[in-house]
């Protein structure tokens, strides 16, 4: 069954907002999604009814807060097909989740010359942590190139994977929208003796996620791009890996015992969650999962494919050669992220003009500077869609785009 767009828009209070006297046309969900009433209420409810610190509290409020935190963990585990709740580590965001793997598994298992394989379309969050290990440990960073359509070029994959210890790849590009062949890469990585990490930040909000089906060893994603609050992200990893990994940050919550001589760590997952966790945010993420489950992730993806197809058709029919849309041309091969260049006008200027019509797009390098270099530009304009967007939003973008001509086309 198709999504009921009117009902969904009514679920998101921010959709009532006007910008510069115009209806809000929000096309920046790849940066962050809006939050449904259900999620906002979950945050308020936590602070109004059972705000207290989790674990070790013997009073009623603390019991309720602890249960809510652990219930959120269970919801996330079920949402991504994890076999155990304890495989869900709460982090600040996907960036912290990837850094956690680099800092713990990486430091314990990698040494000089050990290859880590990433791709040219990664977000800086899946580049810089490995550059840091290159500087610290002397690992070797290898790059899977992309082809002219924005797909990974796997021609030399065997050579790139030779001796590799870890392959770390975005499931969906935040710039091109490309959906990468994660299972194929995971199988190839395992055959080469490497582990597989997936940056699912642009995948989990939009497609049904099954970590076992992905064949991954680590999966990182963030809450705020999937209707959840900011400040909460997730690392999923196989239990045996988590058991063997050293802790990340040191402090309260992550210990079993502390003496003057040293400490011993708490069990997984708490071993990786030092300090008071983002309790309200985790509860909010649990509510976001409830919301998406209620919509049905198959339906969410169907809507995305249909709307992406409509956007690709509308923009190319309207502007022809005046617009270049990066990435795969088939909606089924991509997410709802459209990076484009319009008449050679700089993306900042395009975004500035669109803002006047209440159309929110992002302009810049999208934290993917190596990819920008491959594309031969320093910036793109990016429109990205989610469950609350419909064809009228695409039309508003298409209508407002030509307003830039008045300033920049002589």
């Amino acid at each position: 069954m198709a999504l009921d767009l009117a009902a969904i828009r009514a679920d998101f209070p921010i959709m009532c907002r006007q910008v510069h006297g115009r209806r809000l046309v929000y096309l920046d969900s790849a940066a962050t999604s809006h939050k449904p009433r259900l999620v906002i209420d979950a945050l308020t409810d936590y602070y109004e009814r059972y705000n207290s610190n989790v674990h070790r509290g013997s009073y009623q409020l603390a019991v309720e807060a602890t249960e809510a935190l652990e219930e959120a963990r269970a919801k996330v585990a079920s949402f991504i097909g994890a076999s155990r709740d304890s495989e869900i580590i709460f982090a600040k965001n996907a960036t912290e989740a990837i850094n956690l793997v680099a800092r713990t598994w990486g430091r314990a298992n990698l040494g000089p010359g050990d290859p880590v394989v990433i791709t040219e379309l990664e977000h800086h969050a899946n580049i810089v942590p490995w550059h840091m290990l290159t500087a610290e440990l002397g690992i070797e960073l290898r790059w899977i190139p992309i082809d002219a359509n924005g797909h990974l070029d796997l021609t030399n994959l065997d050579r790139l994977l030779d001796g590799a210890r870890l392959v770390s790849v975005a499931a969906v590009s935040n710039v091109l929208g490309t959906i990468n062949p994660i299972r194929q890469l995971a199988d190839a990585a395992h055959q080469a003796g490497a582990l597989m990490m997936v940056d699912a930040s642009q995948y989990t909000p939009h497609l049904p996620t099954d970590v076992a089906e992905m064949g991954a060893d680590f999966v990182a994603f963030t809450g705020h791009k999937m209707c959840g609050p900011t400040g909460i992200g997730v690392l999923w990893a196989k239990s045996e890996l988590l058991e063997a990994m050293p802790p990340f940050l040191g402090g309260g919550e992550m210990i079993l015992n502390v003496t003057k001589e040293g400490f011993s760590t708490a069990e997984v997952p708490w071993k990786f969650e030092a300090g008071t966790p983002p309790i309200a945010e985790a509860v909010g993420l649990g509510a976001a999962v409830d919301y998406l489950v209620g919509l049905g992730m198959e339906q969410v993806r169907e809507h995305e494919v249909a709307l992406t197809g409509y956007a690709l058709r509308t923009l190319t029919q309207r502007y022809g050669d005046d617009i270049t849309i990066h990435g795969p041309t088939e909606p089924a091969e991509r997410g709802g992220v459209l990076s484009f260049e319009y008449k050679g006008i700089h993306p900042h200027d395009v975004a500035q003009v669109l803002d006047r019509s209440g159309v929110c797009v992002r302009a810049g390098h999208h934290c993917a500077k190596p990819l920008m270099r491959v594309l031969g530009c320093t910036a793109t304009s990016r429109a990205s869609m989610y469950v609350y967007n419909d064809e009228s939003d695409v039309d508003a973008l298409a209508d407002a785009l030509s307003d830039a001509d008045a300033f920049f086309i002589e």
């Binding site: 700089h346 993306p347 500035q352 003009v353 006047r356 302009a363 810049g364 910036a379 920049f408």
Partner: protein, 156 residues
Amino acid sequence: MPDLEDLYREIILDHYRNPRNRGELDTPPAVRAEGFNPLCGDEVIVYVRLANGVIDDIKVGGQGCSISQASASMMSATVIGRTTEELHRLNRAFKSMMSIEPDPDDPPPINGNGADIKLGDLEALKGVVKFPVRIKCATLSWHTLTQALEEAQATA
């Protein structure tokens, strides 16, 4: 919202379409500095050659939005032939127009606070202040020029 016409003044668009002093200079005798706006990837490259404390020649390269590139072009046209002392006063006056507090590391004003110096064409960038996100685009070339001059002084 403020009018886009305040931001995209005709003189700014003219500098964007027909940038002045575009190119490179031999280093040495010129010095080269690169400036990046980490938010958006705009980049400005400034080559500057000094002779007896005067900006003898300046060339600008890089790529970015209309505001960053026009501002770089306007800056190059304004500072050529000026003494470094005048340039510091211009820099202060420009930043003040952009509502930016003087940097404690900026050289102190020698004659007044720079308010007396005429900004000329640069005044056209005043509208940028109404679009706070774009202030960094307008000031990028000035930061880069300051960097180049520091380099020149360090190697002198």
